[in-house]
């Protein structure tokens, strides 16, 4: 008898929801509303990401992904992964399926973690908002430092994994 991982997660989520409902019913309806909004926000982006994954699989050879993000290009692949992440769509939940796809296509762990981290932390599309809320200096310092530290994390990943 094998139980799918997903089923276990779903069961845990359902039990937590039940506990929440027993403790405070109105709060739990709010939980469901929040979950609905998250689903409405993330699912379309997820669909687009899956389409992109399929398109890349259909039109880009594994070799060329491996050339840019594989171990062949060494630590440069981390930088390539990071730059790719900066342009990724802003929903973090969509980063992991795409990152897994990149790894399956021959991307190296250092490049994958570079993509994941900048995909979450740095966004070309959120830059205008960051500049508006925090100013030029803060934005420059945060993004630059993040980029540098993610590079270091990428090296650790290359060595350890």
């Amino acid at each position: 008898m094998s139980v799918n991982n997903g089923t276990i997660y779903l069961l845990i989520a359902f039990i937590l929801l039940l506990i929440s409902a027993l403790k405070d019913f109105s709060k739990t309806t709010k939980v469901l509303k929040v979950t609905g909004i998250i689903a409405l926000t993330v699912f379309p982006v997820l669909f687009l990401i899956f389409i992109l994954m399929g398109t890349i699989e259909a039109f880009v050879s594994k070799e060329s992904i491996a050339v840019w993000l594989g171990s062949g290009s060494g630590i440069l692949s981390i930088v390539t992964g990071e730059i790719l992440g900066c342009f990724a769509l802003i929903q973090p939940a969509t980063i992991f399926p795409f990152a897994g796809f990149l790894h399956d296509s021959g991307a190296e762990y250092g490049a994958v973690v570079g993509f994941v981290m900048t995909g979450i932390a740095i966004g070309v599309s959120t830059l205008p908002l960051e500049l508006k809320l925090f100013g030029k200096r803060f934005t420059l310092v945060r993004n630059l430092l993040t980029f540098i530290y993610v590079f270091i994390i990428g090296i650790v990943f290359m060595v350890v994994l």
Partner: protein, 182 residues
């Protein structure tokens, strides 16, 4: 308040439709170039979707639970008050459990700042938020346990370092400006 919510829902719906149109557009172009490749794309979409639908729903419910029971606003109120090392320690760990994207986290950081948090705390806050513990099931599914654990372990020192170094740079920058300008 009600109006604001209406505008928000309106924006989410509009964004959703935009993403779907772009996706179908790409799919359509690809299928016109080669019908078999169009089918291949459909297969990838379907198999990935079937693979993660349960995990995705579970993750969304858990994020919803966290957001309602431990509201980010409450957390940032606590973080704004704590100064010094304690503040940095909180800021580099607690945000690991907060959901959302940069669009939702920036206003929170702004609030933190207005409540008197230092640059170090704000920088550590957003860096630690990249830990994304609520998405852990997804990360494990696609990248493996070792990847996920190593990444989350590295996040905390990463957040502290960015907080401290960032604050030093921003402070020096300000000092230079005032010295030079005088």
């Amino acid at each position: 308040m009600n109006d604001k919510r209406k505008i928000q829902t309106h924006k989410i719906t509009r964004d959703a439709i935009t993403y779907l149109i772009i996706a179908f557009f790409i799919w359509g172009i690809a299928s016109m170039l080669s019908l078999s490749k169009g089918f291949l794309i459909g297969e990838v979409v379907y198999s990935t979707f079937v693979n993660i639908i349960e995990i995705i729903i579970a993750v969304f419910v858990i994020i919803g639970l966290i957001q309602v029971w431990i509201s980010p606003q409450k957390l940032s109120k606590i973080l704004g008050k704590e100064a010094g090392w304690k503040g940095l320690a909180f800021a580099s760990t607690i945000p690991l459990f907060i959901g959302g994207s940069l669009f939702t986290i920036f206003p929170l950081m702004k609030m933190l700042r207005e409540k008197g948090a230092s640059n170090a705390v704000v920088l550590a806050f957003v860096s630690a938020w990249c830990g994304k513990v609520p998405l852990l099931p997804l990360e494990v599914e696609f990248l493996g346990v070792r990847f996920a654990i190593l990444r989350i372990l590295l996040i905390i020192p990463f957040a502290i370092a960015i907080g401290i170094v960032g604050e030093l740079i921003l402070e020096r920058w300000r000092a230079v400006k005032y010295d030079g300008g005088g």
